[in-house]
Symmetry: D2
Subunit: 310 residues, 4 copies
């Protein structure tokens, strides 16, 4: 006999996912967002921020390997890495697996979330906050970047979606922000980012992000992957002034995986190549998208996943 408690996630404006919660470990509000951490039979521990599932214990390796390793592997020798967001520490954990890394700065606005993660989400960070190469900064990432001239080999963007007209995340999805990111890349650097769900039946969130990033970078590539814990396919982006993701052969990626001694559970060199190949309907949507998000009128999604009027 189980306890019939459910977390209801409005995946779209018309479809909602009801997830059974076996035990609620924590729920409340930091200065910036609501949170729930619960145990589930299907996915283990689940982290929710502001109405959306962010990560689940059993499949977070898929999300984080997909976010981190493509950018890290396309760079021949990543020594400094900036993580924008990434509060629970798993993105940092994956970055630190690359032995060339000497400095990994993580800037997340929500210090209370980080503290909670340290205590309640050890499966995610696995001690990465304590690594001597890690610097954890509690600040608005855009403000921090504007105030610090530090540059990096790899910049990873691991943010919540820009949901809601007053979402602060909106200002981290504009051309002006991507210009700032580019200016903080070292020569030969590359950006990797989570870039919104791909659900073309419902909206064009990912194509807009893709189109916007193309304003700032010479080379931009979408790669996609299914994240089981979200029940959705997500778009990710690689962007660089110099590196063309499509021109790096799988053999080179494979060689780097071996040289760096990476033990991965999901991503392989061949699978990265596969993720970079898009079906026709997605490619068409990217090619035809015209909306660019700018500071003057930033793009945002309604709470239910539709694009806002802005």
């Amino acid at each position: 006999m189980h306890i019939p408690m459910y977390f209801q996630e409005n995946v779209t404006a018309f479809e909602a996912l009801h997830r059974r919660m076996d035990r609620v470990l924590a729920s409340g509000r930091t200065r910036f967002q609501n949170y729930v951490i619960f145990d589930s039979q299907g996915f283990g521990k689940v982290l929710v921020l502001d109405k959306d599932v962010q990560s689940t214990e059993r499949d977070e390796f898929i999300y984080h390997e997909t976010l981190v390793h493509p950018a890290m592997l396309l760079h021949p020798n990543p020594r400094s890495v900036l993580i924008v967001g990434g509060g629970e520490g798993a993105t940092l954990r994956e970055v630190l697996k690359h032995p060339s890394v000497e400095r990994a700065v993580m800037v997340d606005i929500d210090d209370q979330l980080i503290e909670m993660a340290k205590k309640l989400l050890p499966e995610w960070h696995q001690g990465s906050f304590e690594d001597h190469r890690s610097e954890v900064v509690a600040d608005d990432a855009r403000a921090w970047m504007e105030n610090h001239a530090d540059t990096f080999d790899v910049i990873l963007i691991d943010l919540t979606d820009p949901v809601g007209e007053d979402s602060p995340a909106r200002m981290l999805y504009t051309v002006e922000f991507y210009d700032l990111v580019r200016s903080r890349l070292n020569e030969g650097g590359i950006m990797g980012m989570q870039a919104g769900m791909i659900l073309l039946t419902h909206h064009h969130c990912h194509p807009v992000v893709h189109r916007t990033v193309r304003e700032s970078f010479q080379h931009v590539a979408t790669y996609q992957n299914y994240i089981p814990g979200f029940f959705l396919k997500f778009g990710f982006l690689l962007a660089s002034p110099t590196i063309d993701p499509h021109s790096v052969p799988a053999a080179s990626v494979q060689e780097r995986i071996e040289q760096r001694g990476l033990a991965l559970s999901h991503m392989t060199a061949d699978y990265l190549g596969a993720c970079l190949v898009l079906p026709k309907d997605v490619q068409d949507a990217l090619d035809q998208e015209t909306v660019v998000s700018r500071d003057a009128s930033p793009f945002w999604l309604t709470e239910s996943g539709a694009p806002g009027p802005g």
Copy 2:
């Protein structure tokens, strides 16, 4: 103001999807299964059979292009095709796009479903039932194949999952059934099939189907794709005594698409190649699976998606 009617689909034993129904076009029961057809804002018309969404108007092209064209394109000259299941007629529609096809036999047990589809689901069949090359048979597919010695270049399996201990579909997921399929392939023939969701956090449905098919065929390849209307990634299988799907170059596939004049909206030669590349965790699950479904003890899923005790 909308009418708050919902269709609840138990995607797993622990997660349920609530889909808003704007209008219920039909609901009831044929001799074999319950059905609902409803209109939705996200996916247009939606067809439900026995508790599970089978197809949606807006994304059925993704499912049906993924099911049909890989097998059809790997065969150099498919002239005769057998479709097992496929009641609403869209699989047949895609098959008939290949100009080499001279005969397409569709065997579905549920003649009432076919009649309903003819009237209520024209977006799916688009007249394919009336094509002079089509033969529609209302019969149990396994029984029909046992009673008919007809052989085919391509056999496509488009069935509901074997959900429930008394599901008749169970007997179409066993080694003995796949042996029968193989015996009904012409020299150089190939089988393509929908082979269960890939949700390794929850169960090993696809690995069991894959492992079982390997008992009957020399060459077996899993390919995967995300089906938006199901909010799930599905596994598909290609199986042949002679054709190795991994050895056919994308350039050949592309050439065939052009020669046959196929206008596809989702599948491309390159994307087919990408679908055949599996992430490490999925490949590991396939490699390690040991369960084989046999007539004496057929595999089945509980209604909630877990494997049954059998």
Copy 3:
């Protein structure tokens, strides 16, 4: 195996009822409101108007006997009756059971609803629309009453709740409307009405209606009853310039039931007396209520059941 379709009713802002629909008989929109008619195992046929269940086949006798007979029985000889609202015809059906009735005028704004009821809801009207004493008028009830000087022995108000800031029903819940009702009563006449759910934990809908009616009438009495199909206790009102409901002895009511040959399934003379007795918390809420709904600033409920800001 059932089809998992649900109707979701937001009983309050915080609690929702999910009712299983076995079959949707009709759904759509008249010029005035959305509607759904579905079959359910618990309550039989269910009628929904604008998001709220209005009536169910198996318990509508409880609602309609509770609404109609108290006012009719407190009047010694009701010959003319006006029904405000009451579109599906069951209120009219109960009125016509009283043999003294010579004329029963029903004014409902929604003629399309009445037509649909004639066809799909025979269990409700049971032919009452065809009775020679019935006059069915499709009009705004307040406008009709302003334009017609006809007076009645009994006026019954059977409306949907004033949900939504733009609900037209709002103008039938104000002092000015109740003054109009009083002016259309014959000497010795009485008004009976459905007057909102009693759920004091959540809001004061019924106390506000009660308080407002008291502005217009000398004698006002709340009586309450549980309506199973709504899973709620509702308040009803009796109001009259001359009849004090608390002063009519049960024995007189019982005598009238017998004289009129009424065959009732729920209401009895004693039970009417019991419904007029209120628990202390409800009586206190009535005594302390100060809000009066007026044309200049009519009271309304949010869609979820909370009182609107007006």
Copy 4:
């Protein structure tokens, strides 16, 4: 912005209530049952045991005043009281309001629940566990009564419904148990009990309990009340070898309320009289019920509220 967590309660087999949880204060399992305590906007703190809401902070006074005071007030001088069940302490709290009480024994099987209530549910017990007249026993109530010859003026039964074929509560709903209760009443004693929801559209739970109690007692009276936090009308029973509840005039009850200095928020002498008057359909169901629950074949409800096959 709220956190969309819900508690789903299957009110019947066909209707479920989804209650929004603002914060989960505790969830888990004692040796005997699952429990959840959560905060809600509509009802404040809510206590759930084994899938069913037991009590809510804002309306528990309605339930507990309805359960306790009728039996206590019908007895002219209750000095000793036995409470069967009642783990969170509010029944005990109401009993202790009667100044004649010298001894109040509460026997609840679940000592872990009692300990949790002491810490987390002070709004319920309000210190009643510490009263010098209270004796709290952690034991199976039937076993305790069989092993102890103590007799009481009033015995109050405050149990969960007999849901599930293996529910231990089943054995506290049989003729044999009620015979035991009668044997533990002092001369002139009376039993009061919560006796199941009244939802005749769905099942005959209350009529069966009523019919069963009539096997053991000379005088048995059903009284009913709506419990807002359950969204249901419940049946309660008064049973005594000597006291006929219908023959005690309201004036006497009122006199006792005043003599005992009871400050009640819901129950009044008149309202108790009103609760004892039943509508015709309920009275008919009681009169016609023939099922009696006996040890040899105890009555039980399925988890969804239907009567079990036994």
